[in-house]
C-alpha cells in the first residue's frame, strides 16, 4: 500500500509504473480536504469522548456493582450486538432516528404535543451510530482495568473521607487509564476512517476522510491517492496519539 501511494496511477498490468509524490500533496492541491479532515477528527473526538463517557462508568459498574454469574451474562450481552452485521445495524438506526421513526414515535407517545424529531442525516446521527458501533470496545477495555483494582484501594480512599465522585475521579479513573487509552485507540483510529455510518446516517453531512478515501478506491479507481490519503490520515492519528499519550502518561497509572 505504501508502495501504491507513490504511484501516479493504479497498477494495471501492462502499464509502466510511474512514481510520484504528488499524491501526498493532495491536501495542498485540494484545500477542501482540510474541512473534511477536520470533520473526521471532530467525529473521532466526539465518538471517542462519548464512548469514554458512557463506557467507563458502565465498565466500572460492571466490574464493581455486579458479581458472579450475572456479571458474566452482562459481559457477554454487551458483546453480543457486535455479532450482527454492521450494515444491518446502521440501517436499523435509520429506522430509529428518522422522522416518524421509533424515537419520534416514542417521544410523541410520551409528549403528544412535541414537535416531530428527526435526527437522521445530521451530525448527531453519525455520532450515535458510531458510538453504538464502538462502545463495546471501550466498555471492555475499561472493564479489564477496573476488575484489577483491589477492593482495599477503594476502601482506603473511602475511609479517608472520599465520596463517590472523588473515588471516581481520583482512584477509579486513573487506575482505569490503561483501559481508557487502549479503548480510545480502538475507537478513535477506525472511526476517523469510517465511511459506512457517515454515508448512511449523515446524509449530505456525511463526508469524511473515510468516504473520500473509499471514493478514491471504488469510484475514481485512484488507489495511489486513496492510499496516500490513508497514510496521511494515519500519520495524523499517530501524531495525535503521540501528543495525547505524553499528556496522559503524566496522569496514567504506571503499572
Amino acid at each position: 500500500m505504501l508502495f501504491f501511494s507513490f504511484l501516479k496511477s493504479s497498477p494495471v498490468p501492462g502499464r509502466a509504473l510511474v512514481y510520484t509524490v504528488d499524491n501526498y500533496l493532495a491536501f495542498i492541491k485540494r484545500p477542501y480536504l482540510f474541512n473534511v479532515a477536520w470533520t473526521s477528527i471532530q467525529i473521532g473526538l466526539w465518538t471517542t469522548g462519548l464512548c469514554a463517557l458512557i463506557g467507563l462508568p458502565a465498565a466500572i459498574a460492571l466490574a464493581r456493582a455486579t458479581a458472579g454469574r450475572s456479571r458474566h451474562i452482562l459481559f457477554l450481552l454487551i458483546i453480543l450486538p457486535f455479532w450482527t452485521n454492521g450494515l444491518v445495524r446502521v440501517f436499523s438506526w435509520t429506522m430509529v432516528l428518522r422522522e416518524g421513526g421509533i424515537l419520534d414515535y416514542a417521544l410523541h407517545w410520551i409528549v403528544p404535543a412535541a414537535p416531530s424529531v428527526s435526527l437522521l442525516y445530521s451530525f448527531p446521527a453519525i455520532i450515535i451510530g458510531l458510538v453504538h458501533a464502538y462502545l463495546p470496545y471501550m466498555i471492555l477495555t475499561c472493564y479489564l482495568s477496573a476488575t484489577a483494582i483491589e477492593d482495599s484501594t477503594i476502601e482506603a480512599a473511602r475511609s479517608l473521607g472520599a465520596r463517590t465522585p472523588v473515588v471516581f475521579w481520583k482512584i477509579l479513573l486513573p487506575l482505569c487509564m490503561p483501559g481508557l487509552i487502549s479503548g480510545s485507540i480502538l475507537i478513535f483510529v477506525p472511526v476517523i476512517g469510517s465511511f459506512m455510518e457517515p454515508r448512511i446516517l449523515g446524509g449530505r453531512i456525511g463526508v469524511t476522510m473515510g468516504t473520500v478515501i473509499e471514493d478514491q478506491f471504488t469510484a475514481a479507481f485512484n488507489w495511489p491517492l486513496g492510499a496516500a490519503l490513508s497514510f496521511t490520515m494515519l500519520a495524523v492519528v499517530l501524531a495525535i496519539f503521540a501528543v495525547s499519550s505524553r499528556v496522559l502518561s503524566g496522569r496514567a497509572a504506571t503499572p
Partner: protein, 351 residues
C-alpha cells in the same frame, strides 16, 4: 473524644463463623491492643468497626451513636490496612495528602502537614516515589502516615509496624502514643508483638475463636491471665496440673503453693508460672517460702538480652526459665538444678 462500642457483632463466611457475638467497648481516648492467633478475626473486627464490611448481626456505636448503617466516608476513621492498600498510581505525597484534601485542607497548610507526618515516619525525601518503588517497610510507613495525617476520630491499626525494624518501630510507637495522647484519639491496634502491646496499651484485649476471651490493663492481663489460652498467648507460661490438697497443688514431684484463693480440696486445677518468675537456686541457697522444683537443664536458648533455660517438667514437658544475661551464665545443658518461685507468682487458672 469518642469511644467505640461493639454490641454482639457476628460475622461469618459461608459456614465459617469468624466473629461470634463479640461485645466490647473501646474507651474514649484509650489505646487498646487487640491480640489473637492468626485467623482469629482481628482484621475482620477492625473492618467491621471501620465500616468496610457489614456485620451479619450486631451494632457499632461511636460515642454512643449508632453508626452501623453510616457510610464509610462519614465515619471518620483512620485505618492502616494489613496489606497497606496504598494508591498505586499516586506518589507518596499524593497518597498522604489525599485525606487532607478530602477534608478541604489544601495548599500550603496541607503541604506542611504532609511534610510533618512524612518526617515523623522518616520518609522525607521520598515524596515523589510511587509505592512500587518503595521497600516493604517504607510502604507500611506511608500507610501509617496516610492514616494519621487526617486526625481521625478513631484510629484502626492492623499490624501497622510489622515490617519495621526494632529501632524504627520504637520511634513509631513513641509517635503513635504521642499523637494518641495529644489528640485523645481512640485507637485500636492489632499487633503480634507482645511487648509492643504491653508497652503501648491502656487496655489489651485477647480474641480467640471469634470471642474476646480476656481484656484488661496490660499488667492485669499479663500477671493474672484467666485461662490457659490467655496465659500462653500473651507471654510464655509454664503449666502445672494437679489436685488441690490442703496446703497447695499436688503434682508429680511435690506440692506447689499459691497465694491465690483456693478452690475446694480434691479438685483438679492448673497453675501457671511465667518463665521470668522462676530462678535457679544457687547450690545450698535457702528458698525461703518459695516453691522449689528439682530438675535438669535440657537446653539454653540465647536471645541477646535474655536467655531461656529449658528444663524438664514434672510430666516430661518443657519448663522455660527466663534469665537476664547480666553476666555470662554458668549453667550448661544436662546440669541438675533446682528452680524456685514465689507462691505469689503461681496463678491458678479457670478450668
Amino acid at each position: 473524644m469518642i469511644g467505640v462500642e461493639v454490641a454482639s457483632i457476628s460475622k461469618g463466611y459461608g459456614s465459617l463463623r469468624v466473629l461470634d457475638k463479640v461485645s466490647t467497648a473501646f474507651k474514649a481516648g484509650e489505646f487498646t491492643s487487640l491480640l489473637g492467633p492468626s485467623g482469629s478475626g482481628k482484621t475482620t473486627l477492625l473492618r467491621i468497626i471501620g465500616g468496610f464490611v457489614d456485620p451479619d448481626e450486631g451494632r457499632i456505636l461511636f460515642g454512643g451513636e449508632d453508626v452501623t448503617g453510616v457510610a464509610l466516608w462519614q465515619r471518620k476513621v483512620g485505618m492502616v490496612f494489613q496489606s497497606y492498600a496504598l494508591f498505586p498510581h499516586m506518589s507518596v505525597f499524593d497518597n498522604v495528602i489525599f485525606g487532607l484534601n478530602r477534608q478541604g485542607i489544601r495548599g500550603e497548610a496541607a503541604r506542611k502537614e504532609v511534610a510533618r507526618v512524612l518526617e515523623m515516619v522518616h520518609l522525607t525525601g521520598f515524596e515523589q516515589r510511587k509505592p512500587k518503588q518503595l521497600s516493604g517497610g517504607q510502604q507500611q510507613r506511608v500507610a501509617l502516615a496516610r492514616a494519621i495525617v487526617t486526625k481521625p476520630r478513631v484510629l484502626l491499626l492492623d499490624e501497622p509496624l510489622s515490617a519495621l525494624d526494632r529501632r524504627l518501630r520504637q520511634d513509631m510507637q513513641i509517635e503513635l502514643r504521642r499523637i494518641q495522647r495529644e489528640s485523645g484519639l481512640t485507637t485500636i491496634f492489632v499487633t503480634h508483638d507482645q511487648e509492643e502491646a504491653l508497652t503501648l496499651s491502656d487496655t489489651v484485649a485477647i480474641l480467640d475463636g471469634g470471642r474476646i476471651v480476656q481484656e484488661g490493663a496490660p499488667l492485669d492481663i499479663y500477671e493474672r491471665p484467666r485461662t490457659r489460652f490467655a496465659a500462653s498467648f500473651l507471654g510464655d507460661a509454664n503449666f502445672f496440673e494437679g489436685k488441690m490438697t490442703g496446703d497447695g497443688i499436688a503434682i508429680d514431684g511435690g506440692v506447689i503453693h499459691t497465694s491465690d484463693g483456693l478452690p475446694g480440696s480434691g479438685s483438679k486445677v492448673t497453675a501457671a508460672v511465667r518463665p521470668e518468675k522462676m530462678r535457679l537456686l544457687a547450690p545450698g541457697e535457702n528458698p525461703g517460702g518459695d516453691n522449689v522444683f528439682a530438675t535438669r537443664i535440657r537446653e539454653i536458648i540465647y536471645a541477646g538480652a535474655v536467655s531461656t533455660f529449658i528444663a524438664e517438667g514434672p510430666d516430661g514437658s518443657d519448663i522455660k526459665v527466663l534469665s537476664q544475661n547480666r553476666e555470662v551464665s554458668a549453667v550448661s545443658p544436662g546440669q541438675a538444678i533446682t528452680l524456685a518461685w514465689s507462691p505469689a507468682n503461681t496463678v491458678l487458672l479457670q478450668a
